[in-house]
């Protein structure tokens, strides 16, 4: 049995590995056929040959970071790699319209995403009918998991509580190369885009071969967030006002990377109009999860220069564009004189 060339591995500092880091980095090599383990401690930055050779049956390398604080251990799997003589290779990549480069890509339920899979090392079925099944195909699985219904983003943990994952679909990949799956929308179950949210997980597996169990070659996940909602309250479109009432704006599911504001313009609603932005009303969200919010305008009297129909709109700008969440027409008595003092506009 001929052993494989020893491989290089490199440890690159990740977000947890800062100066004076309490983390310890460990590299574990597991032989796929026997389960034997080789463990070493490595520096945060470095590159070297693996100390233990890789047998023909293949080996899985796991790079771990762990620490102990207040008597409690915490571990993080930083990366895994499977190598072997007859081991197919597989890589997954998720591409979404949101340029966010955090640990898990994200998008919105209506925006969709692309899953790119790159496979190598497969033996063509036509060239060798004696090749085992594991050498001729790789399994791609797709699971979806919803965040708990009625999740309150204000109190939810960092990424929300997920319900158990469900199988969505599977593919048997039998050709080497790169291919894509393009989804027009998220696949989280449900029919309420203002509530449906969750996590989609794609995995590539090498198939069982003899005593080697199904081996995960790669995994990629994408977070799916719900649609944003906005509602302007306090204005009756059938009424003509001499004194502008208090206006409240309820905002739900503001996207984790968004800017939301109120604008006004003269005339009836005309979607696409760029009006005057009430800058003090801007809400900027730069977070890991959506946010709910509320705006209250108590003294809009000073904002309007004259009577007639005016339009109030609440807009939100996300990586997907600028969208109108709600529009109301405010009818002000003609020849209205400005009176009263200006008080603050605020975000509650």
């Amino acid at each position: 049995m001929k052993s494989l060339k020893l491989i290089f591995f490199s440890v690159v500092g990740c977000g947890v590995l800062k100066a004076d880091s309490p983390w310890t980095i460990s590299l574990v090599q597991r032989q796929l056929d026997t389960g034997s383990l080789f463990q070493s401690y490595v520096d945060e930055h470095g590159e070297e040959l693996s100390a233990a050779a890789v047998p023909e049956g293949g080996a899985e390398f796991q790079l771990w970071a762990f620490k102990r604080e207040n008597g409690i251990f915490e571990e993080l799997l930083l990366d895994t790699e499977v190598v072997g003589t007859y081991m197919p290779t597989g890589e997954l990549k998720i591409i979404t319209p949101d340029p966010y480069d955090g640990p898990i890509p994200r998008t919105r339920i209506d925006q969709g995403f692309t899953v790119q899979h790159t496979v190598g090392g497969l033996v063509a079925s036509s060239s060798s009918t004696d090749a085992p099944l594991a050498a001729r195909q790789i399994l791609l699985t797709h699971q979806v998991a919803s965040y708990e219904p009625g999740a309150n983003w204000e109190t939810a943990p960092e990424y929300g509580s997920l319900l158990p994952a469900e199988d969505f679909n599977q593919l048997s990949i039998q050709q080497n190369g790169t291919d894509e799956l393009r989804f027009a929308a998220g696949n989280i179950p449900g029919n309420d885009p203002y509530r449906d949210a969750g996590l989609e997980t794609f995995q590539l597996f090498a198939l069982p071969d003899g005593e080697i169990a199904q081996l995960q070659l790669d995994e990629a996940q994408v977070q799916i967030w719900p649609l944003s909602k906005g509602e302007i309250k306090g204005i009756d479109e059938d009424q003509t006002y001499t004194l502008i009432p208090t206006v409240e704006v309820e905002l739900m599911n503001l996207y984790p990377d968004s800017k939301t504001w109120m604008q006004i313009y003269k005339g009836p609603p005309s979607p696409g109009t760029e009006g005057v932005r009430l800058e003090e009303s801007t809400i900027v969200v730069n977070d890991l999860k959506p946010r709910n919010s509320r705006l209250v305008f108590r003294e809009l009297q000073k904002v309007f220069t004259d009577g007639g129909p005016w339009t109030l709109e609440v807009l939100t700008e996300t990586p997907f564009g600028v969208e109108i969440l709600d529009t109301v027409q405010l009818n002000i008595l003609k020849d209205l004189k400005i009176r009263g003092a200006l008080l603050s506009l605020g975000d509650e």
Binding site: A53, Q62, G112, E323, K337, I338
Partner: protein, 178 residues
């Protein structure tokens, strides 16, 4: 004049409240529930269009939850403790304790530090690369293990200075389940 002044005052008030930055993106209505519903549910069609075949029968995947600490044991001594691959300590002696759960107290040491601090109680059984690769039998190692059983030393298998567990080596360690 009065009207002109009041209008000017109004415009100035508006100017102090509002800013008119120019948006580069087109403003459009947020998508409706109906529009979103029309896009959703098309995921299965994506798989049908793929040049790769859908599996004839659903394949059951055994997903394992990887855990470093789950595949390790804790070796403790008077000067601290360390994490070892499960099975690397083939015999636990009288001066060191082996457990599957971390000790409540004690300082964590990496293997080199722990070995140095407790070398009086540790005996390393070197494993050859050929034995690691399964190309040589483990009998010589097993015989050495049997001879050292009564010394009271803690015995651990090592490859090139780092701990290694060999699946086929008979482990006579005593692990404290705590």
């Amino acid at each position: 004049m009065k009207t002109t002044f009041s209008n000017l005052f109004g415009y100035l008030s508006l100017a102090t409240l509002a800013i008119c930055p120019s948006l580069e993106a087109e403003i459009r209505m947020a998508p409706s529930i109906e529009a979103v519903a029309a896009k959703r549910g098309s995921g299965d069609a994506v798989y049908k269009k793929s040049r790769n075949a859908k599996t004839a029968e659903p394949v059951t995947v055994e997903r394992e939850t990887k855990s470093l600490l789950g595949s390790c044991e804790f070796l403790s001594g008077a000067r601290g403790f360390t994490i070892v691959p499960k099975g690397a300590v083939v015999m636990a002696g009288s001066n060191l304790q082996l457990s599957v759960t971390p000790p409540k107290d004690g300082k964590f040491l990496n293997w080199s530090e722990f070995h140095h601090a407790h070398r009086a109680y540790l005996r390393i059984l070197p494993v050859t690369e050929a034995q690691w690769m399964g190309e040589e039998p483990l009998d010589p190692l097993q015989e050495t293990l049997t001879q050292l059983e009564k010394t009271g030393m803690t015995l651990a298998t090592s490859l090139k200075g780092q701990l290694v567990s060999l699946h086929n080596l008979k482990n006579t360690s005593t692990t404290n389940q705590s």
